[in-house]
């Protein structure tokens, strides 16, 4: 009886684990291996030791992509969380047609990021400049995507448009866990408006804030579709995200080995950020 159970569990676990190792662990190890070679993606190659890694830190294009990706991630995360929190408070207040509004505001999130990117690309390129011309705002007279200084803002807007939908829904489910009587007690103490939110609501939904931070940072650091649809890394390589650079130069640019090293560093960065985030938020939650 006991053995039958044990055997069944092993028969389930081993094949699925093998599948996982075959398409996750082995490619990961191969990726690390290639990062120590000068492989171009085809033909012969040699081991080059840590040269790729040393070159990474002096490669202007790689450094630029890290700067861009982190700038995008941090700015988007802040914007998205502030707006989502406001939206969630509004959608959780005493309004009519609540489920209609919630459904409508979630809509952007289910749409494919690539197609959304293409649609916004057209808006940034044609519609907004036309409208700006009409109203007389010269700063917006030409596409923000064609200027190396402003193109990243366009990407932030498109990323935020979709991410706000997601984070709002999570904040709403957080707000629903706050019991009514907390507010009533707060009301008696004279807490109102922002004070009430900051001292009563926010600490109670802190776990949901953590979830949103983790979701945001991770998704934005891996941004790819939006770049593909909006700028293809341009203008002047000002919007190359790390994933995009690895894809572009690694898959077809003859830098298989070098970009593998980049990917390994990127992997380590993601692991560090994720564990740090979990440690910090875990501690905060304990305090509460």
């Amino acid at each position: 009886m006991k053995n039958e159970r044990k055997r069944t569990f092993l028969l389930i676990t081993i094949p699925i684990l093998a599948l996982f190792i075959c398409f996750n662990t082995i490619p990961l190890i191969r990726g690390v291996y290639y990062s120590f070679t000068n492989f171009k993606g085809f033909g012969k190659y040699d081991m080059v030791g840590f040269r790729n890694y040393l070159d990474l830190f002096t490669d202007a294009r790689v450094l630029k992509s890290y700067w861009f990706t982190f700038k995008l991630a941090v700015v988007s995360t802040i914007i998205v969380n502030v707006i989502s929190m406001l939206m969630a408070l509004a959608l959780n207040s005493k309004i009519r047609a609540k489920s209609f509004f919630r459904g409508a505001y979630f809509l952007p999130n289910i749409l494919g990021a690539l197609v959304v990117g293409y649609i916004f690309n057209y808006f940034f390129t044609y519609i907004i400049p036309a409208l700006a011309d009409m109203v007389g705002i010269e700063a917006l007279g030409s596409s923000i995507l064609s200027n190396p200084d402003t193109a990243w803002i366009g990407i932030v807007i498109v990323c935020a448009w979709q991410a706000i939908a997601m984070n709002t829904i999570i904040y709403i489910s957080g707000l629903q866990t706050v019991p009514e009587d907390v507010y009533e007690a707060g009301g008696i103490d004279g807490a109102t408006g922002f004070k009430k939110f900051w001292h009563l609501t926010f600490p109670l939904i802190f776990p949901f804030f953590t979830i949103n931070m983790v979701l945001c940072i991770k998704n934005f650091l891996m941004v790819f579709d939006q770049i593909m649809a909006l700028t293809k890394g341009g203008p002047a390589q000002s919007t190359e995200s790390i994933s995009y650079l690895i894809y572009n130069n690694g898959m077809s640019g003859g830098q298989f080995g070098f970009q593998s090293a980049n990917a390994v560093v990127f992997f380590i960065v993601i692991v560090i950020i994720s564990t740090a985030q979990m440690k910090i938020s875990g501690k905060k939650e304990e305090q509460l």
Binding site: F23, N24, I95
Partner: protein
């Protein structure tokens, strides 16, 4: 009694805010129906409705992007991935969830698989492109296999988390009746996990349906497209005919919009469950 009051300032804010979602969709529909000659640079020209509601753009876009085949590929990949995920990931979640507490081996396997969540696709992409080509898997089937592996960490975490709430006693009772572990799983545990199946199905379906990178990297040489991939690959053929391009974009959004209208409640629940747990 206070509950009936409506907060009107918030209502106004929400109605105005809705324009950030309605406006892009409205523009997409309008542009998709217009003819190139109707496009102009004046505000009224941009916002106006098309002169005629003709489906010519859509017919042309379907031809250019081989719409039905791309749609078929997307449906095939999504449905097979979701079915396999629910079957395989729930089994794995069960095996690991039930054993990780008292077995070092299962606990290690559990942590090993769940930590796969930290592995960005960027590092797997180049080796996988090579590996799938070597194994003859540079096609839709390879893409499905990869999805089953990529979403395993998340889904195993969800399933084994859900199992904590299902008492052992249920299985014990079945065991007394002489049912095997395998049978007990499919007869008792699998049906009980239904709410989690819904969550996993929704999350996996949305992620797979909208994914671009995996098919882009793996199926590049197979002349097969998924719906989003077709938009990327035929981008150059639209040229400056934005009306054609928008008709194509709209076509690619319609299936998921229908899905959302029909299963909105399940989708919202699924997304929240998946994120919160």
């Amino acid at each position: 009694m206070r509950k009936r009051e409506t907060n009107w300032p918030v209502m106004v804010f929400l109605i105005l805010g809705l324009s950030t979602i309605v406006f892009p969709l409205y523009m997409t529909i309008v542009i998709a129906f217009k003819q190139p000659s109707e496009m102009s640079n004046t505000i009224s020209g941009i916002l106006s409705l098309p002169k005629t509601w003709s489906f010519d753009n859509f017919r042309e876009a379907m031809k250019v992007t081989d719409f039905w085949r791309s749609l078929g590929n997307s449906l095939l990949i999504t449905i097979v991935t979701v079915v396999l995920s629910v079957l395989i990931h729930s089994l794995m979640g069960y095996a690991l969830g039930r054993n990780k507490k008292h077995s070092k081996f299962y606990n290690f396997v559990y942590l090993f698989i769940v930590s796969g969540m930290f592995v960005p696709f960027a590092i797997l992409m180049m080796p996988l492109a090579k590996q799938t080509a070597e194994m003859g898997l540079a096609n839709w089937f390879g893409v499905i296999l990869l999805y089953v592996v990529f979403y395993m960490p998340m889904n195993v975490l969800l399933y084994s988390g859900y199992l904590v709430n299902i008492p052992f006693a249920l299985e014990e009772a079945a065991k007394v009746d002489g049912a095997s572990t395998w049978r007990t799983y499919w007869k008792i545990i699998f049906p009980i996990m239904k709410p989690m199946h819904a969550t996993v199905a929704v999350l996996t379906a949305l992620a797979v349906w909208n994914d671009v990178m995996t098919p882009l990297v793996i199926m590049a040489g197979s002349s097969q497209n998924t719906l989003p991939l077709a938009q990327l690959n035929f981008q150059s053929q639209f040229g400056t005919n934005y009306n054609l391009a928008f008709a194509s974009y709209l076509l690619s959004l319609i299936p998921i919009l229908i899905f959302y209208l029909v299963c909105q409640r399940q989708i919202l629940n699924g997304v929240v469950n998946g994120a919160v747990k």
